[in-house]
Symmetry: C2
Subunit: 400 residues, 2 copies
């Protein structure tokens, strides 16, 4: 087990109806809040209304910034930050999926520093991020996820896309830990089948990445990770069949939060290469992050993990998909088959071509993945550094 | 899954050699520290020396209070609190097992309020605890466990014994969360076989109690709990055979912290009746808490759980001890057998008579358990409230 520091300053309020306490909770941090959300879904589903009602009841002043797009963009963040400054907001309240929550963290940063967020994004061409990360100053943030997926509600990371430069990468720092996360599973009843499934793949990927690439003497962490993966697999299916099954939605939401709260990876470390390879895809094509991960995972397992750490892939299969083969190589094949079959079952099995990716872009994207993510130098230290050629081969395998 | 609030404000610094950072960490919270520890073992093993060296190096002033006994007593706490006040200490640093850490939390309380700790202890005869709990004010606390057992290093609970009144019960409150816990597995190399085993039973009991008594729609929590139980069982044995096996000691220590950090029980709730039944034993006889739990657990499983929740006991057996019986009743019997066999294997299987308990005290202790713990009213709500007669029958079964 590696040495580690674990810090979970975000207070979590979880359960049925807890969204009605939003006003009372926000009030602890200030009088005026910038409510950051997407353009349509929180209006359609009524979540936004629930939140604004609670704010009004508590007498909290608010400004709604409802301009966050999927794969939130640097320019949107900068605009949000400016509004927070002009309106003299005391804190940022995120309502939505990973996009709204990540944008809120970035807006909270920009609102204090008045610097464009692009300067903070890891791997950007300016290189300024090397001085600016980790982020030490931001407005207080409160998160209300409406989708079980990214785990952004209770950690200090965010992913932002610079659409001009086709760069999608992370910002991070202690100031980005939300003060409180309000997790109300009922808010996720209205999530579409497609986003429910993509979200399950996102949390599953958060779990398997460190499990595959990190230190192997961390059995406590491995068993927690396996338990969470089993829950993601099990309850994704239940939630798809019964979108208003409270128990299934609660388990998915809590699994997604726990997957990235630090517990699973503390002492195991391990980079997240598949996330980084996917980020190039959604920086270029604006596809759902979870869908991109679902497309890439079989290629990553077949081309990299099956060779580098077959025993880990075999263990995942035995623990999560009840694979019984004793031989690791055979177990790896069976695991990949079981995984693909789960993806098909929940409707996330797909190809790059089908989500609109053009074949002629693959090579450029592979090269950009290495440049933006730094995967070449240090990122899969525990297995091996990836090359642009390897990334290209993965893209090619799942192209059509 | 029940609604819950999860709050883990304690920063955890875990790993080999981390104890050498004590001074630098303590310095963040003040200039003068009361170092609370036991009478002998941290001196013998050199832990105390490592800590004081680090404090000196960082230029932190310290006073050593080395009077904490096993099952720490109210009068010791009051004396420690007075010294902290007289010496104008800014914070409390605990070095030791659960006793030193629990005493530190109590001393941190008394140091601020100047009230005797007895007034705060849940269930005491004065009834003042009803107003004083949860504790909102205390000096900052930093913990350095030297034993993997109680999980006190990263939660806001402590157990204190009033020896005069034969009452052992809890104090709790947000002010008692340690600011930082320094978890250095190498400090536990010197723990005796007997304490290593008793500690493993303590963490195992922290895990099974809520699992047996809490809400049953909390599969994420159940799977995390089962994973932690498997690790306790596995690494206790390894650590007994190889006391300086870093990996085993690291896994035991991290399992003990995670068992009571809030993650396992959040959303499942569930009281800890066996802990409360044991507290009466150690309030009267000053025996090791873990040993008391090991003695009582088979009786609790046979007399209460096997009848109330056989499916839960069967599940524990299947998930933790590889029990294969499909019939729940048969699986319960096999689980209890496997448990007893594990206790025998690690040397914690014992009887009340053997640890010095007198038969004529059993009835009084059973009655006191109900009075002090409140087990009669609310404590096993999820199964059933216990009566003094039931507690007595458990004591009798494991008397000799």
């Amino acid at each position: 087990m590696l040495n580690f520091t674990l810090n979970i300053p975000t207070k979590i309020i979880f359960g049925k109806g807890e969204v009605s306490r939003t006003g009372e909770i926000v009030k602890e941090y200030g009088k005026k809040v910038l409510l950051v959300t997407g353009r349509t879904s929180t209006k359609k589903t009524g979540s936004l209304n629930k939140v604004t009602e609670s704010l009004k009841e508590a007498g909290v002043d608010f400004v709604v910034f409802d301009q966050v797009e999927p794969n939130p963009r640097a320019e949107t963040v900068d605009r949000g930050g400016q509004i927070a400054r002009e309106e003299q907001c005391d804190l940022i309240l995120a309502l939505g999926g990973g996009s709204a929550m990540d944008a809120s963290k970035a807006i909270a940063t920009v609102a204090v520093s008045a610097r464009p967020i692009h300067e903070y994004i890891r791997g950007n061409k300016t290189g300024l991020w090397k001085e600016l990360l980790p982020i030490q100053e931001a407005l207080p943030i409160i998160t209300i996820p409406t989708l079980a997926a990214t785990g952004s509600e209770a950690n200090s990371n965010a992913v932002i896309t610079n659409w001009e430069m086709k760069e999608k990468s992370g910002i991070a720092g202690p100031a980005l830990f939300p003060r409180t996360a309000i997790l109300d599973p009922e808010l996720t009843y209205t999530v579409s089948a497609s986003y429910t499934a993509d979200g399950a793949v996102d949390m599953f990927t958060h779990l398997y990445e460190g499990y595959m690439t990190g230190d192997e003497n961390a059995n406590v962490q491995d068993e927690i990770t396996e338990g969470l993966m089993r829950n993601a697999v099990k309850y994704a299916k239940t939630a798809l069949n019964h979108p208003e099954d409270y128990n299934a939605r609660a388990h998915l939401l809590w699994t997604s939060t726990l997957a990235l709260i630090g517990i699973a990876n503390a002492g195991r470390g391990g980079p997240f290469p598949v996330h980084q390879i996917e980020h190039t895809l959604s920086a270029h094509y604006d596809i759902s992050h979870g869908r991109g991960l679902a497309i890439l995972t079989p290629a990553y397992f077949r081309q990299i993990i099956k060779k580098d750490r077959p025993h880990r892939l075999a263990r995942l299969g035995r623990q999560v998909f009840n694979i019984t083969q004793e031989d690791d190589a055979a177990a790896c094949d069976a695991t990949i088959e079981a995984l693909v079959s789960w993806f098909k079952d929940i409707g996330t099995y797909d190809t790059l071509k089908n989500v609109g990716v053009k074949k002629e872009d693959l090579k450029l994207m592979a090269e950009e993945t290495i440049r933006v993510s730094g995967l070449g130098q240090d990122s899969i230290a525990a297995t091996h550094p990836l090359t642009a050629e390897e990334v290209l081969r993965m893209y090619e395998e799942v192209f059509e």
